[in-house]
Symmetry: C2
């Protein structure tokens, strides 16, 4: 027998004081009980019910977080548009087929896999089941995974949509990605990536354009940065000139640590590998060389010379107008082992101790993994989560973004409520965001709501204001009050002179 | 033994003609092979590699799709801001704990569950695994799922963040949700929901505000709609007056079919349930009654009378200014079995044969399921996927949204390439979106790129233009050409008089 209480009027009756009750109908399946209660609207947590939680490594974003994040996204989106990088979107779920094997063994482990729906164990190998072989079973019970980055989906997108796009294809994407990394401060399992890439052109103009895109965005965000860049071919040429090309990957990895362990640390590591002092000296002379022409003279590598040529061409494309941020050619920049084959970029913010807030480069085989050869790509990425942290730390968010809400209309007289609604309608039809306190409550209650919600201004409406077609405008920061007409209110808000 | 080809210079060599090759280094772990090739940049699909696919029920969005969808999202977002519904975001992944049991058995089945990472089979019940009990095993191998709607996460959000929010709390959310529904035309496994809700106030002003929000958005989208509304208490009162309250849910379900099976169909279904003709007549007299005052007279239910009172109050709050769309009180509107307890809304577009493109209502126990009682909520939802279909069908997207790209700078003379870059920089620093064809290619090639990419204007730059500080502006629709200075180009784009 199940007890129903009508869902027409389901006040939080358990919290309410029961004043009367009657059984209206009874049969063998259900009883309808009407309970006359005095509802209580107190907010109390019933400790018998499990307190909800979020999966580790995930976050809720409150309105103020969203406003600040939106400021970053909007700025970047605006520049993507200016520069002609059209937004596309790919689904959060991709075939595991598409994702697996693209990020190394570690990546495969960190992919979130989605359990097949329905009777997913039907037909799986008894052998795997009996041995409880978790890894072996994955592909039999899961055929989908969550996007791990935006680059592999972009490559898949190009291959699948190549009939509907025209090369060179410039695209941007701002979407969340998911990684089962161990969560820690500043590292989440769900976070946004923000990329701009060109596919299908090997023109070095795009390297220059992407540097300008970085420059424009960080200028607009008011985050002073240094944009470091290099060319993988130059790095290769230096290593080749030093006679260490047979250990290219190893040497690259060690050089990449320069930032962290310093020159002496890198030298020590290279010595430990039994490389000759001669080689190591050539290596350092060259990566520390500050003049491209000098580097060119010492470069004994065809690939390296091609890299220098590429750098010079990009620099020519940048001559048209001055940059706002510092651009620094840095022969030590390696950007890990990645798939980069030409220019590489990395952006660091001045004034904070944080890793790079952007990076990218050229990769010559974007879509080869999906069978489409000859599509060269170059792209950059904005580390929006870190940019957010930098801007918070340096207090770079504009006042209107980091501060609270605009204006609250506050009605303190029942007869004036319709007049208050009229004002609200009028403001909104003038494109002015505002809110109405939804009932005629005591002034003190409404003021404390306005304060705690972060409203900057309150327009008080009572009998007196209504009879004059005015409102009493209160500045919540200074406490100042003045009576103004609704028209005056509107024009002052529009002129930002409130 | 593994074969490496250096990733420094990895042209699509397999497609290239091999001219020479040499083994540089050989040891027991790897061979470095240098291959001198003539790279081919032809785009060919290698059929040996699996053609990538998307999971069923998911989609890629191409730039034009995104532009049109963005027009809808931007319009809605603008109105959310005007009306004070602050955006929040919740993660795509929620604890299964949070999601399970909230959407009925069907919903539980349709939830996408995420496989635990690592050795997920370790420690699971031998019994379940031996019986291949897929359903029984779920909770042991999966603790996370993908968001199924925006309402349950909102309820969880309120409970978890209640120290940081102030009631009444107005929030909006535009995020994708995932359901393992059978994909079909217009139904996807990943799609956007778009909600505005107020939590923690039972003021009926919000019902009026949300109706106005619908009105404002659909006016701005230029989609003429009828906003139908009703109050669950009225529906309950009618059923109670007809003496059918003991079968309330059944009667509601049948009435909900009025749209589909018509009055006679509904009557027949009710007759088949052996309800008295008297009851059925009362029912129909009342739901077809067009006058609130008449309905009030025939209403023999306290709950029903309260519902009528609520409707009248909402109508009073709507008197302040006229609406743009039709608002229709409809006593037959039931909106399924849902959790609604007061006003309910549904929006239909004129001129297309499609289901509702919006809906919502008041629910008195938003957060009770997570132990927080007494939080009344009222909210509306925009069916963005359907709104998109309606606007496509009725061709309601503004021209500047549905048409292609703006302006392409096209350089046909090597010496003029730096001048072309200057123009691009100048346009962009004037906030004008533009693109540069990235190399000095033949005019015909560049024009066909401009055409196929959908550029509306091309600014041609050659020796002649450069020497005069001008460009030749070509209208790609009419074919007209004229020479203008860069300043003129900028001012004409800004004045939309191109």
């Amino acid at each position: 027998m199940i007890l129903y209480v009508t869902n027409i009027y389901n006040y939080p009756f358990i919290q309410g004081k029961i004043r009367d009750s009657s059984i209206l109908l009874e049969n063998n399946r259900q009883i309808w009980v009407f309970i006359n209660i005095r509802p209580t609207f107190e907010v109390k947590l019933n400790t018998n019910i499990l307190k909800p939680t979020l999966p580790k490594g995930t976050r809720d974003f409150l309105p103020l977080d969203i406003k600040k994040r939106d400021f970053i996204f909007t700025t970047i989106r605006h520049h993507f548009k200016l520069f002609g990088y059209d937004a596309i979107e790919t689904p959060a779920m991709e075939s595991l087929e598409t994702l697996m094997g693209k990020y190394g063994d570690e990546g495969d482990r960190l992919l979130f896999k989605i359990l097949n729906n329905g009777d997913y164990l039907q037909g799986v190998s008894d052998d795997l089941i009996e041995r409880k072989d978790s890894q072996g079973l994955i592909r039999q019970i899961s055929k989908r995974g969550l996007r791990y980055d935006l680059t592999v989906p972009f490559a898949r997108f190009i291959v699948m949509n190549r009939q509907n796009i025209k090369f060179p294809f410039k695209r941007s994407a701002i979407q969340p990605v998911w990684r089962a990394d161990k969560p820690q401060k500043g590292r989440y399992q769900e976070f946004y990536q923000c990329d701009a890439d060109v596919a299908g052109s090997s023109s070095l103009y795009y390297e220059a354009e992407l540097i300008r895109l970085y420059d424009g965005v960080f200028k607009a965000l008011n985050v002073p940065v240094v944009i470091r860049w290099n060319n993988r071919k130059v790095l290769y040429g230096i290593i080749e000139t030093a006679g260490l090309v047979d250990e290219f990957q190893l040497v690259t990895v060690v050089i990449d640590k320069l930032d962290k362990i310093g020159k002496e640390g890198v030298k020590a590591e290279l010595m430990a590998k039994n490389f000759s002092e001669d080689s190591i000296n050539i290596l350092f002379d060259m990566i520390e060389c500050n003049h491209l022409e000098e580097l060119m003279i010492s470069m004994k590598s065809e690939t390296g010379l091609k890299g220098i040529e590429e750098i010079k061409e990009v620099m020519r494309h940048l001559e048209s107008s001055p940059m706002h941020n510092m651009l620094k050619l840095d022969a030590t920049l390696a950007r890990g082992l990645g798939y980069y084959t030409g220019c590489i970029f990395e952006v660091n913010a001045f004034g904070v101790n944080m890793g790079s807030i952007g990076g990218g480069g050229r990769y010559d085989n974007l879509t080869e993994i999906f069978g489409l050869k000859g599509v060269s790509g170059v792209g950059i990425s904005f580390g929006v989560e870190r940019i957010y942290d930098v801007m918070n730390e340096l207090q770079l968010f504009p006042k209107e973004v980091s501060q609270g809400k605009g204006i609250l209309i506050s009605c303190i007289d029942t007869e004036s409520f319709p007049y208050s609604i009229q004002i609200v309608d009028q403001l909104r039809s003038n494109n002015i965001a505002c809110e109405l306190y939804p009932e005629v409550a005591k002034l003190q209650k409404q003021m404390s709501f306005a304060n705690e919600s972060g409203f900057l201004r309150v327009a008080l409406v009572g009998d007196n204001e209504r009879s004059q077609g005015k409102v009493t405008l209160k500045n919540m920061e200074t406490g100042n009050q003045e009576m103004v007409t609704v028209e005056e209110l509107i024009s002052r808000i529009k002129e930002h002179s409130l």
